[in-house]
């Protein structure tokens, strides 16, 4: 049985941990609100861009002149995996979930005889993947020193990916990130961005077939638009990711605070018990001493 002093020290240390986790939870909650807002504000842009591209691609159904970013390089051997994680820990299963999904997918690709290349964005992803996949990692990026991720940061990564694609470094590009559903649920996702897979985003005019006038020609617009779309998708992933990270951290810290509270309660009971025990022991000693006189 630990001595009274030890118990006292433990209670004190658990309490100060609890203070830290509580503060982290508050900070995460405030940041979450901001991140959520910017994720919501960013949605119209990417949704609308997807719709425009969809309208454009209709005219490209069986046209071999379509840009390669849209139809792919015609081969299916090398996969580029862009794994987007946080730069900071202490956010529950956030980073692990992305890496788990990425590892599973990448093992699948490897066992199907595909080659993979990896770009990690965010240092935590690199830390988790370097053990198993180090030889596949071609680049690692960290945005630790950035307070707020701007579109330009995403555009830089997008440009790099397009550059690699144009050099025929890979045939397919997949990004891994966490989709923010709500504060407690974040779903890790693998999204293919090259060749572009366009899903119709529902809007009011979704059913109507529109005939557009294009100026300049469709293919020129697409060539301009597709690289932008990649940056947009990456930016969207960033926004979703940062909202998810904060949400996940908030939940994790909330749990930690509660656990610390439970632990303090338990330790306090122990402490009181042993204090009582020592008092009783002293009393017995005094009484039996008096009796023997």
């Amino acid at each position: 049985m630990p001595s009274l002093d030890d118990l006292k020290k433990r209670i004190k240390s658990v309490k100060s941990t609890q203070k830290i986790t509580k503060a982290m939870k508050m900070v995460a909650a405030a940041k979450l609100k901001k991140a959520q807002e910017s994720a919501e504000k960013g949605r119209p842009y990417s949704d609308k861009m997807q719709n425009i591209i969809l309208n454009l691609t209709k005219s490209f159904k069986e046209n071999s002149n379509a840009p390669k970013l849209l139809i792919g390089s015609g081969e299916d051997s090398t996969y580029l995996c862009v794994i987007m994680t946080a730069d900071r820990g202490l956010c529950g299963g956030f980073n692990t979930n992305i890496c788990k999904l990425a590892k599973k997918k990448m093992r699948e690709f490897l066992s199907n005889g595909k080659k993979i290349k990896i770009i990690t964005v965010g240092s935590k992803g690199y830390d988790q993947l370097k053990k198993e996949f180090n030889k596949f990692i071609i680049e690692k990026k960290s945005l630790k020193d950035k307070k707020k991720i701007s579109f330009n940061d995403a555009a830089l990564i997008g440009k790099r990916i397009v550059e690699l694609f144009e050099k025929n470094e890979f045939d397919k590009c997949i990004i891994f990130y966490n989709n923010f559903k709500n504060v407690i649920t974040q779903i890790p996702q693998a999204q293919q961005i090259i060749p572009a897979k366009i899903d119709r985003v529902e809007t009011k005019s979704a059913e109507k077939e529109e005939f557009y006038e294009f100026e300049p020609e469709e293919d020129e617009i697409l060539e301009d638009l597709l690289p932008k779309n990649i940056s947009t998708q990456i930016f969207k992933a960033f926004l979703e990711n940062s909202a998810s990270e904060q949400g996940s951290r908030m939940t994790a810290m909330d749990n930690a605070t509660r656990n610390a509270g439970d632990l303090v309660d338990k330790l306090t009971i122990n402490y009181n018990r042993s204090r009582q025990a020592s008092i009783t022991k002293e009393l017995i000693e005094i009484i039996s001493g008096a009796e023997s006189l």
Partner: protein
């Protein structure tokens, strides 16, 4: 007014302008173009230039690039770089202009890059007060 249509200017970060307007002039890639109500459905992209909103120049935005879609009397402008001219200080314009002129001085530019940069220079020159 019956001749109004809806204009939305959206950047990746947020929607910066949405309102009913009577006319919009955009710097389309192949030349300036003014859009009125009931324009034919259109998709085009932009070169650096100035968006003029309203007949009496209600608001002006400078932008570097963008894509425009017009359908159902909704004009949608997606851009990464729109700036309201009211918030665009002379110093910033001068700095950008300097950058552009350095860019134009390079000898290895493609025709497309040259085209875009020279329009950027023109547009910036025009809005410098």
């Amino acid at each position: 007014m019956a001749s109004n249509f809806k204009l939305e200017i959206v950047t990746p970060e947020k929607t910066i302008f949405t309102s009913e307007v009577d006319q919009v002039t955009i710097p389309s890639y192949e030349g300036e173009m003014t859009i009125l109500k009931d324009h034919i459905a259109l998709v085009t992209f932009l070169r650096p230039g100035i968006i003029k909103i309203g007949e009496k120049d209600l608001e002006n935005f400078y932008l570097d690039d963008g894509i425009v879609e017009f359908s159902d009397n909704i004009l949608l402008i997606l851009t990464t770089s729109a700036r309201n001219l009211k918030e665009f200080s002379n110093n910033e314009i001068a700095a950008l202009l300097k950058e552009v002129n350095v860019g134009l001085g390079k000898s290895n530019l493609s025709d497309k890059e040259k085209y875009i940069l020279s329009h950027k220079a023109d547009a910036l020159e025009a809005i410098r007060k």
